[in-house]
């Protein structure tokens, strides 16, 4: 199985080689998407973990037993209206019509409730007016 997670490392354990242990002891492939790790300070990491289901579960138990807080990743798409040049290139790429064109005004609008966070808009927007925000869910 594969899942994106947010890991929070208390200052006391932040210097331990968790990713190495995950790979070596639990056969977990870790793809680090974002990390903020500093010596002796609380750290955080957005990571995609891939492993067989049993190993995945034991790997998470291992992390939690060492004091690492594990929460599922919640992503959010932010449309930066000031950067948007109102072209509309994103509107045919967005699969859920979250980014859409108001007609006849021909202005681009964003409806976050419809967004499925596929992230296709991030690179489809020529002006790079769409950003992804990673949040730790409950």
């Amino acid at each position: 199985m594969k899942q994106k997670l947010v890991l929070r490392f208390p200052a006391a354990v932040v210097e331990q080689p968790f990713i190495y242990i995950l790979a070596k002891e639990y056969n977990v492939v870790a793809n680090i998407l974002k990390a903020n790790i500093n010596p002796r300070k609380e750290g955080s990491m957005v990571v995609e973990l891939t492993a067989a289901p049993e190993e995945f579960a034991t790997a998470l138990q291992f992390l939690q037993s060492r004091g690492v807080e594990v929460s599922p990743l919640e992503q959010q798409i932010i449309w930066v209206e000031e950067r948007c040049t109102q072209c509309g290139a994103c509107t045919v790429i967005c699969p859920s019509n979250a980014l859409w064109m108001q007609r006849p005004e021909m202005t681009v609008a964003f409806c976050s409730e419809k967004c499925v966070v596929c992230e296709r808009c991030l690179k489809a927007c020529p002006a790079r007016a769409v950003e992804a925000l990673y949040l730790a869910g409950e």
Binding site: T85, C90, I93, T107, P126, R128
Partner: protein
Amino acid sequence: MTQLRTIQEINEKIAKGQAVVMTAEEVLSLVAEHGVEETARRVDVVTTGTFGPMCSSGAFFNVGHTTPRMRMSKVTLNGVSAYAGLAAVDVYLGATEIPETDPANSNYPGEFNYGGAHVIEDLVAGKSVLLEAESYGTDCYPRLRYKKEITLAEMNEAYLFNPRNAYQNYNVAVNLSDRTIYTYMGILKPRLGNANYCSAGQLSPLLNDPYYRTIGIGTKIFLGGGIGYVAWQGTQHNPQAPRSANGVPRAGAGTLALIGDLKQMQTRYVRGVSLLGYGVSLQVGVGVPIPIVDEAALRYAAVRDEDIVAQVVDYSEAYPQGLGGSLAEVTYAELKSGVIVVQGKEVPTAPLSSYPRAREIAETLKQWIVKGEFTLTEPVAALPTVKAE
């Protein structure tokens, strides 16, 4: 054709604050209500606008002399190479140039996050950029290396000089193949997944003066938020393109080479953009005033989206292979509805050119004229054209 007013007379009215100015969109309702003849009598100037990626753009810079002096022969700005095969400290930075370190499409589809267009935008934004120069050294220009953070204000001259802007009409791009393709017309999904177009249609400058009767060399315009001029016909200017009965080209035709002081411009109208899998381009805002010197000028300027057609072209095969051929002819009214029909299939459309910003540019230019800050010019010479039928 009876002349209604001269450009000089229009300028006298502008000076007195009496000129009647309307955008190419606003004038449509007046024409619908009162007809062409009456509207032509009432309106002195129609303003047009367009805002879209225009790859054939770039800027000349004179970065100033160093001590000791240097004949810069290799120059980069924020890592993007500028052409330095000019006099000592003159360079030309092309909008589509990317840094040598950019993986481009070797990491397909390339992201092209930064290039010449972004350097131009950064400079217009007032940010400093890193100038790095090398030279082979001469007796009069001994310096070999130079490195400095430089801003637009510190440069002696900086002007946008775009060899091809404001295309009079353009292809509608689709993809007939089985895989997604990445083009200068944006991302095209397989099997007619979407149709992308790039023109302001009824607001677009050259579509409102299809035979270039009033737009010519020397015409003063809105360029990037400042004042610019038509320098020449643009590259690939082709007045011979097929035209509809109303004189409007049915495909890409005329183009303009534009010049203007970069120091007057604003990032709202000069923006670097990244086209996935294709490269970097510059979004440029252009607005051109059309003096209503006679009834024909107004009739042309009153063109509506439903009267302008464009050709639907396959960018998976026909375009790259230079095969020509159109899959369908559609109007800008159809394109703006959000769906067109190609080969019996309903295809969702998307613009790359921003209609709201085109409208904003036409409106800004109108306000400049109404306030007496912008007067109209007589062209110094005509652009190559064809006879109106």
